[in-house]
């Protein structure tokens, strides 16, 4: 074959794929003609993040097995390492080799990007025909699945992420601070307590009073909202440096550089913040749902009966102009390339229904975001952290999404730019916020 012909073939092979299949269908619609005619069992390919079978067996082992028993439809797990998940999904979608269901999340707007490109299937009609109402889930949670009036995927969870503070009762008592109530604490109180709780030289603390992960986009969004701001404007084209941005970044800068009560990433060490908390070198720690299990393992039960000290979890300060916790959505949405659209919808629902909520809460200790979840999850409802979560989920509001879905770049700009103030290189002044605003605006003006 000549060189020119070879190059032509290669260029043709690299040409863009055909447009994805349109979503939709009726509830009565069954599997594809090929499957029904061949009498072979339907096998749904489920793209998941690798490690899920061992870390979350309720989702990837138990419930799919029950689903197969209930429906006769088999589920084939296809793990993809987390770091390359979306790259592989997009590549498969572009080459029309995507499976039937896939994990999605909207932390960096990937779920919405997938909807934009027609990768996910709209399940509005299936929900209607099966009598499944949006009211099964909390409004803020299901709201993250509804895009342009249509529903894409159902929540595996729509959690508020960094909305909880773990507190060490022993250190509080030593510092003479009353143990705070579950709700109602304020940022001013955190600063006051952190200064009382911190011990040692400010440049080399033996005990830090407070920590929140300022390089985590879920924390950043929640922090902005607690100060009454929004992470983006409504059409996703700008991140105006409103009171929320200024309040959160200035507060974090004070904690880092003025009072020096918060460890930087370098100060945290290899065990992380849970390690510092367990070693009683960190008195208050803002984190997300999964941390509770880690703290229980590292420290012991909350009442301190068999552990090093007594501890509890309270809700993060909400501020007078609070705009709701960012609902961090995970789904196992059906794909538009699935030849078994109704079955893939049923699997999506099975991984979001009451039974799933029961398994998930009792095994993993977190919620889906269902309206009556406390009634559905049995013994797990007695867990005080579950009750706290339920209240926080109820105050969830979907993320605002950038117009060009460049969520990871957006996060990178924010974390790298705020590093300058958090590490003391710059002041969090008007010039800084103006530059940050301008950089983000330029990013969000880029093509999709």
């Amino acid at each position: 074959m000549t060189a020119v012909a070879s190059a032509s073939v290669l260029l043709a092979a690299c040409a863009a794929p055909a447009a994805p299949q349109a979503a939709g269908g009726t509830g009565a619609e069954s599997s594809s003609a090929a499957s029904s005619s061949s009498q072979e069992p339907i096998v749904l390919r489920l793209h998941m993040r690798a490690g899920g079978e061992t870390s979350e067996p309720a989702i990837y082992v138990t419930r799919p097995a029950e689903f197969t028993e209930e429906t006769g439809v088999q589920v084939q797990l296809e793990p993809i390492p987390g770091g390359e998940f979306w790259a592989k999904i997009e590549t498969m979608a572009a080459s029309n080799t995507l499976g039937d269901n896939m994990f999605t999340d909207n932390k960096n707007w990937q779920h919405n990007r997938a909807v934009h490109f027609g990768i996910l299937q709209n399940i509005e009609e299936y929900m209607a025909s099966d009598g499944i109402s949006h009211d099964e889930w909390q409004p803020g949670v299901i709201g993250a699945c509804i895009i342009d009036g249509k529903t894409y995927g159902l929540p595996k969870t729509g959690h508020p992420a960094h909305a909880y503070v773990w507190i060490n009762h022993h250190l509080f008592e030593e510092a003479g601070i009353p143990i705070p109530d579950t709700y109602g604490s304020t940022w001013d109180q955190y600063r006051e307590w952190a200064n009382l709780l911190s011990q040692g030289d400010p440049d080399r603390r033996e005990v830090y009073g407070f920590h929140m992960p300022t390089n985590n986009i879920q924390m950043i969004v929640n922090g902005i909202r607690t100060f009454g701001g929004w992470e983006l404007n409504e059409d996703g084209t700008e991140s105006p440096a409103d009171d929320g941005w200024r309040g959160f970044i200035s507060t974090a800068t004070d904690f880092y550089q003025v009072d020096k009560v918060m460890p930087t990433a370098a100060d945290i060490g290899s065990a992380g913040t849970v390690g510092l908390f367990a070693a009683e070198k960190l008195a208050m720690m803002v984190s997300s749902r999964g941390t509770n299990k880690s703290v229980r393992q590292a420290v012991g039960p909350e009442d301190g009966s068999t552990g090093a000290f007594q501890w509890s979890t309270i809700g993060l300060a909400e501020g007078p102009d609070f705009n709701g916790w960012g609902a961090s959505l995970n789904t196992h949405a059906g794909t538009s390339q699935s030849p078994h659209k109704y079955e893939s919808f049923r699997l999506t629902y099975a991984l979001s229904d009451a039974r799933f909520a029961y398994l998930n809460a009792n095994e993993a200790g977190y919620l889906v975001g269902r309206t009556h979840e406390l009634d559905e999850i049995g013994p797990a409802a007695e867990d005080p952290f579950i009750k706290l979560q339920f209240d926080e989920y109820a105050r969830g509001v979907p993320y605002r999404i950038g117009a060009n879905y460049r969520g990871l770049e957006w996060e990178q700009i924010i974390t790298n730019t705020t590093d300058l103030v958090y590490l003391g290189e710059r002041a969090a002044d008007d010039a800084f916020f103006g530059e940050l605003e301008g950089t983000i605006k330029d990013l969000l003006a880029r093509p999709i």
Binding site: A13, A94, A266, S270, L408, Q412, T417, D419
Partner: protein, 322 residues
């Protein structure tokens, strides 16, 4: 290739285009030999076209389009190239960081490798062991080395700061410090690179220097330094030139260490060009812009290499050259 008087010139003597140029046609034997030759190299040719030339041509095309993998590419001409040079702040940040990195690691790498090669060019007992020991870090995969050094450079419990504490020095925050992140990565790079291929090339160059030159210098009363400057350096200048070219190209391609350890931070302190390219192409799926960045990089490295080739006349000594 020399041909025997008893055989007609073989097909390999003729350039490939001559087969279409209307020159006297080949004999059946020549055609058969040509066919066999191309058949034997066809695996490499297929690999070259499929995995190198084909993607290069495709990326060149995509660099003039808006292409996000999910939709058909849309032609936009020089939009990406103009954007890179005039509007993308991170483009110039990444160029600056990469140039700083190159300026830091290339000279140190060459000097370090030469020093190591001089040490290992001695006839001492156990030299094979020493050479192996110097070379071993070079065999460590980039990710493993990065993770290992993240532990060593951990500000509170890492070995390095613990040792510095022991002599009364408060170590910096290394990979978490805006000022020290790049020097920390340079330390990792030099640890893996000094005893590697550069050292081997220098070692080969040193061993090729005739002893007679040193003997003649001894007779003339030259000092060690004079012998080094006037004999060793000129004689290994071709090896040095080779290491310089490859060292510069490799330094421009720095990616793995920064990706694993710092992700380009803190505050873009280690945001190298290759990271920026990766971000655009494989995180944001802006394949058009990523392709444009790749071609800008290619042209820049090519220009720099040609410049070095032109400058070599001034300082590279080739024995036997007129």
């Amino acid at each position: 290739m020399a041909t025997s008087a008893s055989h007609a010139p073989v097909a390999a003597d003729r350039p490939i285009w001559s087969f279409w140029s209307g020159r006297p046609s080949m004999s059946r034997m020549q055609r058969l030999e040509a066919f066999q030759g191309y058949l034997l190299i066809s695996p490499w040719l297929i690999g070259f076209f499929v995995f190198i030339l084909g993607p290069m041509l495709a990326s060149f095309y995509y660099s003039f389009t808006l292409y996000n993998v999910q939709t058909v590419p849309r032609f936009v001409g020089l939009y990406h190239y103009i954007y890179a040079f005039t509007s993308d702040n991170l483009f110039w940040v990444s160029v600056k960081r990469t140039l700083m990195w190159s300026a830091m690691t290339v000279p140190l790498g060459i000097v370090g490798a030469l020093f190591a090669a001089i040490l290992l060019n001695n006839k001492l007992k156990g030299m094979a062991f020493y050479r192996t020991s110097f070379f071993l870090p070079h065999l460590t995969p980039v990710v493993a080395a990065s993770i290992l050094w993240m532990w060593i450079l951990q500000p509170d419990i890492g070995i390095l700061n613990s040792l510095l504490d022991g002599v009364g020095i408060r170590g910096p925050k290394w990979l978490q410090s805006i000022q020290w992140a790049m020097p920390a990565l340079a330390m990792i790079s030099l640890w893996t690179g000094i005893g590697g291929n550069k050292m081997l090339i220098f070692l080969a160059g040193l061993q090729a220097i005739p002893d007679t030159l040193y003997e003649a210098a001894d007779i003339d009363g030259a000092s060690r330094w004079q012998k080094f400057v006037n004999i060793t350096l000129p004689m290994i200048s071709p090896a040095m030139f080779f290491n310089l070219i490859l060292g510069v190209i490799a330094s421009f391609q720095v990616f793995g260490m920064a990706f694993v350890t710092t992700k380009g931070g803190p505050a873009y302190a280690t945001y190298f060009y290759a990271l920026h390219l990766y971000q655009q192409a494989f995180v944001s799926f802006d394949m058009g812009y990523g392709s444009a960045l790749a071609w800008i990089f290619f042209v820049a490295v090519l220009a720099l290499t040609l410049l070095q080739l032109w400058l070599q006349k001034r300082w590279v000594y080739y024995e036997g050259a007129v």
